[in-house]
């Protein structure tokens, strides 16, 4: 699903003493069929941008284009109800949305709202739960009896079960352990790659995950998208990262330090262990030749 935001501004509580300008005339676009990441400081407007992309918030200025929908300040809520079917949102700490008596009922809530019949909704829910790694014997438990990580998975299943075309993720791995983070990211990537039009926009502070999984990275600052680059471009630009106080992924930092220390010019864009290892190996081999 193709996304485009044009000169959009949004302020919370406009006109009052507590006015917070979250977005200030920003423009950015996200291509269809890709995994996009969005990074930036706390308060830079990332979550606000995400909510504009599925019509939960309407821009106060500017235009948002999502697939076939056009959202302007005048757009009526009714008009974008159809967008909700296509765009799934996983909010920060989504386990706060669990409410039903059993896990399976909770996951069926979304599909049922979309008008699916009971058995169809159950099929979608079971599929989504299986995909997120919730075992069958947990289906009939109360969602409040699950562990934190399982709750997160159940909540995400609740969104996937609605079969969205666009998945909007707000720090989906915050608070998970490293293994949980990785399996969740793998889940999102395989979901996205299953069908050509599936698109993900993910907000994250985890640069390791962003570097490994995203096709593009958008940098937000003071309510504006100030850069959109491929991970290997962004994360090897030490000066740019410094300027916007963004962290390097661990692998890049390691190679960067090695390059500084050795003085040997080498490619530092490596986002997983294997790539990093081969870069180090190359450096060592080169080093041996030099000596």
């Amino acid at each position: 699903m193709q996304l485009r935001v044009e000169n959009v501004s949004y302020a919370y509580m406009p006109g009052g003493p507590f006015e917070a300008k979250a977005l200030q005339g920003t423009s950015v676009s996200f291509a269809s069929g890709a995994f996009h990441a969005c990074v930036g400081h706390t308060g830079s407007g990332k979550s606000t941008l995400l909510q504009l992309l599925n019509g939960l918030l309407r821009p106060q200025e500017g235009t948002v284009y999502v697939g076939d929908w056009t959202i302007t300040p005048e757009t009526k809520q009714k008009h974008i109800a159809g967008l909700r079917r296509k765009a799934g949102v996983v909010f920060q700490f989504p386990e706060a949305q669990l409410f039903d008596e059993t896990v399976i009922d909770d996951v069926m809530y979304g599909p049922k709202n979309l008008g699916f019949k009971n058995d169809e909704a159950r099929r979608l829910a079971e599929e989504a739960l299986a995909r997120t790694g919730i075992s069958t014997e947990l289906f009939t438990r109360s969602p409040f009896d699950l562990s934190g990580g399982q709750m997160r998975r159940a909540a995400i299943a609740g969104v996937l079960a609605m079969e969205p075309e666009l998945l909007l993720l707000d720090e989906p791995t915050a608070g998970l352990d490293p293994a949980g983070r990785e399996s969740m990211m793998e889940l999102f990537r395989s979901w996205q790659q299953e069908q050509p039009e599936r698109t993900i926009v993910m907000i994250s502070h985890d640069m390791n995950a962003v570097a490994r999984y995203a096709d593009t990275v958008t940098v937000m600052e003071d309510g504006k998208a100030i850069a959109q680059k491929a991970p290997h471009e962004l994360f090897t630009d030490a000066e740019l990262l410094e300027r916007h106080q963004l962290e390097m992924p661990d692998t890049v930092r390691l190679l960067y330090r090695l390059r500084e220390a050795s003085g040997v010019n080498m490619d530092i864009s490596a986002f997983d262990e294997k790539e990093t290892f081969s870069r180090i190996l190359a450096l060592l081999k080169g080093g041996v030749q030099d000596a």
């Binding site: 009052g16 909700r84 909010f91 409410f99 979304g110 709202n113």
Partner: protein, 265 residues
Amino acid sequence: MLEHVIIGQYVPGKSFVHSLDPRAKLIAVIIFMIFLFVSRDPLVLGTAAALTVAAFLSAGIPFRFFWKGIRVILLIVVFTFLLHLFMTRDGTVLVSLGWLTIYSGGVIEGSLIATRLFLLIVLATMLTLTTTPVDLTDGMERLMHPLNRFRVPVHELALTMSIALRFIPTLLTETEKILKAQTARGATFSSGSIWKRLNAFIPVLVPLFVQSFQRAEELAEAMEARGYSGGEGRTKFRQLAWRNRDTIVLFVFAGFGVWSVLSVV
């Protein structure tokens, strides 16, 4: 819409009203509340309105912000007005449309109640907008202190109240978040039969309750961990200071009360 609700919110400032002792403000509002409902004299009501306007102007609250916040509450005022308008069967008939008859008494009664309610809401809102929740409960605790002798748990009441006030904004933010999350899952809150609409709120209320209980538990643990053990023998870090301006304000409101009574007898 929820983000505009200003009940329990405090707007920092250095105005005259901000600087008053919370006890003075509390007593003033209580006097106002009681005596506003004593008199039907338009002059007394006019004075009440003047006091309210004076309080608003000297508090330095931006008008647009205030108006947006109070709009929702005004629905209650309008509703009360209409109720009295249609229900009062006094005076001469003004309008008669089939089953609907409006009497002159209804207009008078409705306007009277609506004006009183409106003034009261504005003044009470001024109190919370210009007083920090901590000051407010401190003031309340001090005012109710004598009741301790009758075994009223004044400190506990004040604490409960301050916690409640503190968490109103949090609760609103949380409600809004959950509303958004469920809306994104296809929930609709504004269509279908009454029964359907009420049902639609279950997915919002359940998480809200769960979170509130969790928070209550965490708060209790945090307080215990820091050695809280009730009000007995507890001293105050923050002291209230009564000044001349507080006495003057009280005199003005007391004067209003006396006049209000005099206009009746």
